[in-house]
């Protein structure tokens, strides 16, 4: 059942967290991190990936698998066996109707949510993608309280990240549609919620970047300029430092909700499938059409994009902001009002690609940061801890492969890709080696650093 035990090892390993913070600080000029209690993180990891809460067999990790960047996409779904609890609606007769839409799940990675209530299951539901849960420490807080889930109102109780799991268990873990606590599932305890929160907050970046970075690639460099230009790309207004907070000149307002018109996109994949796909009205009940802002550093390797998985590539996600759906949306119109030329966002194809290249490079740098952290943790394990070391190193391989994919997908930095391929091969060897694990892992770290040196001038 356990998806990827390496997470727990990272959680237990305080030096690893510390290394992460130091590395992040060195690489990206970040302030020091605040490490959560490692025991709580470790327990949270166990709960996240293994605890079914006496429900239908799903865990949090069912939809947020560690080996797929804690997110779901159709390609990953296609690798799962038919007995995977993700497909519970296909083999549990009690959940066959009105629990999931298997066709939309398998084709587009969409999950069914009854965000406007459970009184009319046939008609009142929305289909949403599964976002990654990385960098939540930097992504959830707002001046008006925490914003969780795609529309910022995903948690019951006090609406916090801590409470999110309770809502998820009720929505996704139930054995029947009666949703009776103590019968169809059990609710998480207070202690479990504490641990889950600690674990989720420990995932990925602990701080936002500080842009601009001294990038070496000219296309990514230009993409960064466009991204930061409040008269051209305007990206940094709502994604400050490629994160999930907004600043319009009056100070950072934290995470914010916007109606960007994604729901108005024509030819959405789920609609083309001719399945029932009611309009998603976003925040509140009834909804106001707004959705919250995800962080962008982790975006390039965690598509599809937007709450409805409307587009597959990071280039298409950037291009969305050129279209009518955005420019005629409330947010697009507000941007146009603030623009001397009356333009919301208008980028040419080369500029779209440049912004996407910038986001690809940011993502690859984050992959490298995480890989180095994992390699160092794996190299530091003693002979008796080789199983744990292997798991850490395998996860480093996975991160490295993500970095390769992200750069390759944009035709970016072929020399860096070569270094990453070498790093991945060395990490793979290290994971299998009895006696040369440390040496091989350190060689892999050197290759990671070589790759990073191709992407940025930061030490």
């Amino acid at each position: 059942m356990r998806e990827w035990p390496g997470w727990s090892l990272r959680g237990r390993n305080e030096p690893s967290l510390a290394v992460s913070c130091v590395l992040a600080g060195a690489l990206l000029a970040l302030p020091a991190c605040t490490a959560p209690s490692s025991d709580s993180v470790s327990r949270g990891n166990e709960i996240f990936f293994n605890q079914t809460f006496n429900g239908n067999g799903r865990t949090c990790g069912t939809c947020h698998p560690a080996r797929n960047n804690l997110a779901l996409d159709p390609a990953f779904i296609a690798t799962l066996p038919p007995t995977d609890p993700l497909f519970v609606a296909e083999f549990n007769p009690d959940l066959k109707k009105n629990f999931e839409n298997p066709k939309l799940m398998r084709q587009f990675g969409l999950i069914l949510e009854n965000l406007d209530g459970f009184d009319d299951l046939e008609n009142k539901f929305v289909m949403r993608g599964v976002p990654h849960v990385l960098a939540q420490r930097t992504s959830i807080d707002s001046n008006q309280g925490p914003r969780t889930g795609w529309s910022g109102d995903g948690a019951p109780g006090d609406g916090s990240l801590r409470s999110f799991a309770t809502g998820a268990v009720i929505q996704h873990f139930t054995r029947t549609l009666n949703r009776v606590p103590g019968v169809d599932f059990r609710l998480p305890t207070e202690a479990e919620l504490d641990d889950l929160e600690a674990f989720m907050l420990s995932l990925g970046r602990q701080q936002d970047l500080s842009l601009p970075l001294p990038l070496k690639g000219i296309v990514a460099q230009r993409g960064q300029e466009i991204f930061l230009d409040n008269r051209l790309g305007k990206c940094n207004l709502c994604h400050v430092n490629a994160g999930a907070t907004a600043n319009f000149g009056g100070g950072n307002i934290g995470n914010a909700n916007f109606n960007t018109g994604v729901a108005n996109l024509p030819d959405q994949p789920a609609d083309l499938a001719k399945e029932r796909n009611p309009r998603d009205d976003g925040f509140g009940r009834p909804g106001d059409g707004t959705f919250n802002t995800p962080p962008l550093v982790e975006a390039a390797d965690s598509g599809p994009f937007f709450h409805n998985n409307a587009v597959e590539t990071i280039e298409a996600a950037v291009a969305f902001y050129n279209g009518d759906a955005f420019n005629k949306s409330p947010s697009g119109l507000v941007l146009a009002k603030g623009d001397p030329r009356g333009i919301g966002i208008r980028l040419d194809a080369t500029q779209v690609v440049a912004v996407a290249a910038f986001l690809r490079v940011l993502n690859a740098l984050e992959n490298i940061r995480q890989s180095i952290e994992l390699l160092e943790s794996g190299a530091g394990k003693g002979f008796a801890e080789r199983a744990e070391a292997r798991e850490l190193l395998e996860r480093a391989v996975s991160e490295t492969q993500d970095g390769i994919k992200v750069l390759d997908g944009g035709g970016l930095h072929p020399v860096a890709v070569t270094h990453l391929r070498k790093a991945g091969a060395l990490a793979k060897k290290a994971a299998r080696s009895f006696f040369r694990r440390g040496t091989l892992a350190r060689q892999a770290i050197d290759e990671q650093r070589n790759a990073r040196a191709q992407l940025t001038g930061a030490p």
């Binding site: 406007d116 409470s163 009720i170 000149g249 914010a256 009940r285």
Partner: protein, 127 residues
Amino acid sequence: MLSRYVRMAIMVVALGGALDAYGQEATEMYIPIGQSPGLSGKGSLIGTLESVDPKTKLVMVSSPSGPRAVAIAERTPIWLDRSLQKQSNRSGVFADLQQGRKVEIKLRKGEPKPVAEWIKVEVAGAK
């Protein structure tokens, strides 16, 4: 340019984030009285219905801190907590708010007088 964007920020926030509805009501319905995470015992009112006035839509709730009058708005969801009977919780109506029943109320923020954002009422038998 800066002031344009400050104005814009105000507009966008007004468009997109001014509502106080972060607790997701849909799944809240299935959480038994007293178990709402981060809310029960902290931000909600738990007690017994001392009186119910259908005309004014006011309920009087006894609580450790003394009786409190709370208005039930037209849009306030009323949920029947049947978890003790191992039955599915359901939406209810104002008539389900009967004297002597245990309730949990989340109060709306920013109201001059207490108004229920939602109310859960414990019902003894199948309904």
